[in-house]
């Protein structure tokens, strides 16, 4: 359409500036990771992979990476499974008021300021003597990952044609059968996508790890957090680069599977 605001040059410039603002810090951090200088200099004088190599060969960092990966894996699997039970359960609840209330409860942790949640969990875990333990951190991550998966999966279920499930039921399949043989196969992409987003969240979490962590739960971001407080060198950039690339790769994958635009309600430009 001629003159449509979406093609207005002023808007376009504004939007480009905002997008540049959003991506700039990530680009900066990544570029430093490939710096050839031994000192923190920006812009970096040359390109080198030595800092990445140093990161990958550092035993402490690698150990914390392993902790992070293990943690993220457990959290992802548990989060997806629990979210599936919640999605199944809610869709079969025949009381709309209860359904709305429970939906709100499930989503509540997502709007809660994370720090306040962390303090509350700190108190709880201390009481349960789980402070600093991996179980405690898994639980903390799950409290965010569970609603996240639920929202993603629920959005996908909402888009399904309800008559397909009804058809299966009319042919004799019980509710659990219907869910596993009819619903799940249709939404598997969003399940995997939810899993990817959860993995990313857990991998990148600093707040919960910082408040609730202990010597057994030195995740990579937490280690980085400690490192940055005392030393600033391109190593941080190298770790950042690894994080950013992983994040972007998984986002791309999740988008292919789930379709970010559709989850957020955009009219898709995807076929």
């Amino acid at each position: 359409m001629k003159g449509h605001l979406a093609r207005n040059p002023v808007l376009l410039v504004f939007v480009l500036v905002v997008m540049a603002f959003i991506l700039a810090p990530l680009a900066v951090a990544v570029s430093i990771g490939f710096s050839s200088s031994p000192f923190l200099v920006f812009p970096p004088p040359g390109v080198s992979t030595k800092w990445i190599a140093r990161f990958l060969s550092d035993p402490d960092f690698m150990a914390s990476l392993r902790v992070s990966l293990a943690l993220a894996s457990v959290v992802t699997v548990a989060g997806v499974l629990i979210a599936l039970t919640l999605a199944f359960g809610l869709s079969h609840l025949d009381r709309p008021h209860l359904r709305a209330a429970l939906s709100g409860l499930i989503l509540a942790p997502l709007v809660f300021p994370v720090v306040l949640l962390a303090v509350g969990l700190l108190l709880l875990l201390a009481k349960m003597d789980l402070l600093g333990s991996p179980i405690g951190l898994v639980a903390a991550h799950l409290i965010i990952v569970m609603p996240l998966c639920f929202v993603t999966i629920q959005a996908s279920i909402d888009r399904l044609n309800p008559e397909i499930a009804s058809a299966a039921a009319s042919l004799g399949a019980g509710p659990i059968r219907v869910f596993s043989t009819v619903t799940l196969p249709q939404i598997w992409a969003s399940v995997v996508g939810a899993g990817l987003l959860s993995f990313l969240f857990s991998l990148n979490d600093v707040t919960f790890a910082a408040f609730l962590g202990g010597p057994d739960t030195q995740t990579l971001p937490l280690k980085l957090f400690g490192y940055v407080r005392y030393r600033l060198d391109p190593l941080v950039g190298a770790v950042s680069a690894v994080f950013v690339f992983t994040t972007l790769a998984l986002i791309l994958l999740a988008d292919q599977l789930v379709g970010f635009d559709r989850i957020l309600g955009l009219q898709g430009d995807r076929s």
């Binding site: 810090p25 359960g89 950042s240 970010f260």
Partner: protein, 285 residues
Amino acid sequence: MTGPRRSTLAIFVLAPGLFFLAVFFVLPVLMLMQISTWTFTPGALMRAGFTLEHYAAFLTDPFYLGKLALTARVALVTTIVTLVLALPLAYWLVRARFAGKGLILGLVLSPLLTNFVVLVFAWIVLMGDNGAINQLLRAVGLPAAKLLYSETGVVIALVHISIPYALIPLIAAVSQVGDDIEAAAMSLGASPWRAFFAVVLPLCGAGLGAAAFVTVSIVLSGFAFALFVGGDSVLIVPLLIWQQVSKTLNWPFAAAMSVASLVIMLAILALGMWLARRLGQRVSA
């Protein structure tokens, strides 16, 4: 299967997840409220004993009141700047036609999923007195700006992380305002900008409210940005909470500050919802 048996199955299946929520979400919130009233005994992390001294200190001590005001100011500025930057972007993402929208969306939302140490590191590099931004300013002949260890720097960092979060409800809101409503406004003589301000913006009231709420939530969690980018000079409430938890180990006080901020935030939310309803009340069918 319908009726009572279906609901029974549903509740049975919901039980584990809901139990988990109850224990690890509801319970912590309740404990926050409970322990905020306990006395602080140095040496012992939590010892029962009812007192309201923490609330009294937080809400009457001029030091803490000053920090509350600072937090409110930072939250207000961050929210306004975030909304001004995010709404046009949301509009463009929804209305513009181009391939790879999902990819662009992923890129734009990526800070959301990246750990903030990466971001903090980048800001330190960018905002230092000899950082990239000041280098740029000097090159153009403008005076250097003190961004690191300043409120401005913290606001910039908070705005940056808030924009992706704000985009989510804003995109949903703009999507809801159909294409044809804008077309109708233009067919009646409104220029594209006029159509945006007269029709699209008012109809995004609810979305703007949600985006504002999310931004305030982020400000209240932004302890790391305040710590690294603001240094000790920008002591917003989440940083105070962090200090109490990690350094002073005065957990009851941390709990009290948490509860107080939560209440204040909910009050602002209520106000915001009321405002949003005034603005966008005629939207819901």
